[in-house]
Symmetry: C2
Subunit: 225 residues, 2 copies
Amino acid sequence: MQLSPIASAHDTQTPWMGGVASNGGVRVLDAHEVLFREGDETSGFYEVLSGAVRAYKIFADGRRQIVSFAFAGDIVGFGHGEAYRFDCDALGTTRVRAVPKSSLLRAMRERPELGEKLLELAGGQVATMQDLSILLCRKSAMERIATFLMTMAMRHPGGTAGQALPLPMCRVDIADYLGLTIETVSRNMTRLRAMGVIDLPARGSFVVRDLERLRELADGDETVH
Amino acid sequence: MQLSPIASAHDTQTPWMGGVASNGGVRVLDAHEVLFREGDETSGFYEVLSGAVRAYKIFADGRRQIVSFAFAGDIVGFGHGEAYRFDCDALGTTRVRAVPKSSLLRAMRERPELGEKLLELAGGQVATMQDLSILLCRKSAMERIATFLMTMAMRHPGGTAGQALPLPMCRVDIADYLGLTIETVSRNMTRLRAMGVIDLPARGSFVVRDLERLRELADGDETVH
DNA sequence: CGGTGTGTTGAGGCACATCAAGCCAGGTGG
DNA sequence: CCACCTGGCTTGATGTGCCTCAACACACCG
């Protein structure tokens, strides 16, 4: 199993851009700058152009669950109804394009077949959340971390040939995404490095040394421990 | 937090029924009869008329994750794209109405504003899956079970005044839904009964004796243990 | 130089899984 | 009618994976 982003716009021709000025709605966020908060009235959704954002919920007792990371080409804030359902802020300096709800609705009225596409997009989000559910409740810490790293690696085509890949989120973010503590994340990353599966050359990056092994660990292959 | 069904059609006037014969597409399922399987080409979605169905995934290693239960008024199989993303079968004798994809698409072309509604429906599904994720990774066994029972109780208006409520799924199903073992489910149900929060008069039913206490346990109230 | 934020490592405890019995209701055949 | 089986559920004993608490390493910065 692999974790997809909450939604991807890679393969679409951003059909909602029909009537919008070519550079309209672009916004630059600094690290930790908030894009929207849970409960805010929805103004539309956002396409990440560069950098990355994280979407999360914070609970009364302080627990935090990161629901998704979105990178360049992904969209975030889609399908939330009247109010956003979680907080969203930038991991580092990030550029996003805002797609206002009005332009989406107009596009949908003009081209009803677009609705179908959007429905599929929404379906993809559901599938992603299902995968996350399974990851969170059926997988061991090592499986979760391996799955996460696999997903990160897959986002960089050809990035598995030994070069450093970006890992823009800190350990706390990974822990809060995978439902673990930072200590457990750290321990298992160290263990993966000791096993020769990955390398950790510097903060904010990692290297896949043995992709096949990583995949086996992610899939919970019985023969590997 | 409360667990919603994967989607509810309670408040809609089933707008997709526009051009369909009044009793069209109704199908009766026996216990454990399969509605659709993961990978099957999508023919449309289903509205549960009576009884209940469960939607689940089975993994290579035999682990099973129940993704949702759907009761009378809920819909299942919506927004799956080209192929269904999980298996779905009946808990007991169940009546469903099949809503073919074609009729949905036709309705959407005729009334573009319907797309908006459906998008919201899909958004609701995402929200539900998020809640499930959080339930599965942030809550203790007792919190999960209390949350589950709360949800079951809430589905029967006024059903919290001491009368027996249906609990149509067996312990294994509950365990596979909550990411626990049947032993843990059983132990905590027994404990809830010992605490006077619920009663378990017979198989397939339960009684809420102390709704407020159950809610506190579900919310993980620190003061209650 | 100390201070702070991020990550690593170690020791110990606990919640839940695992393994194993036993209980109970319903069904079936003698 | 009883004897026996079966499936669902409960209960007990034991193990273990991850969390908790704690200390330390390291980079960065004023």
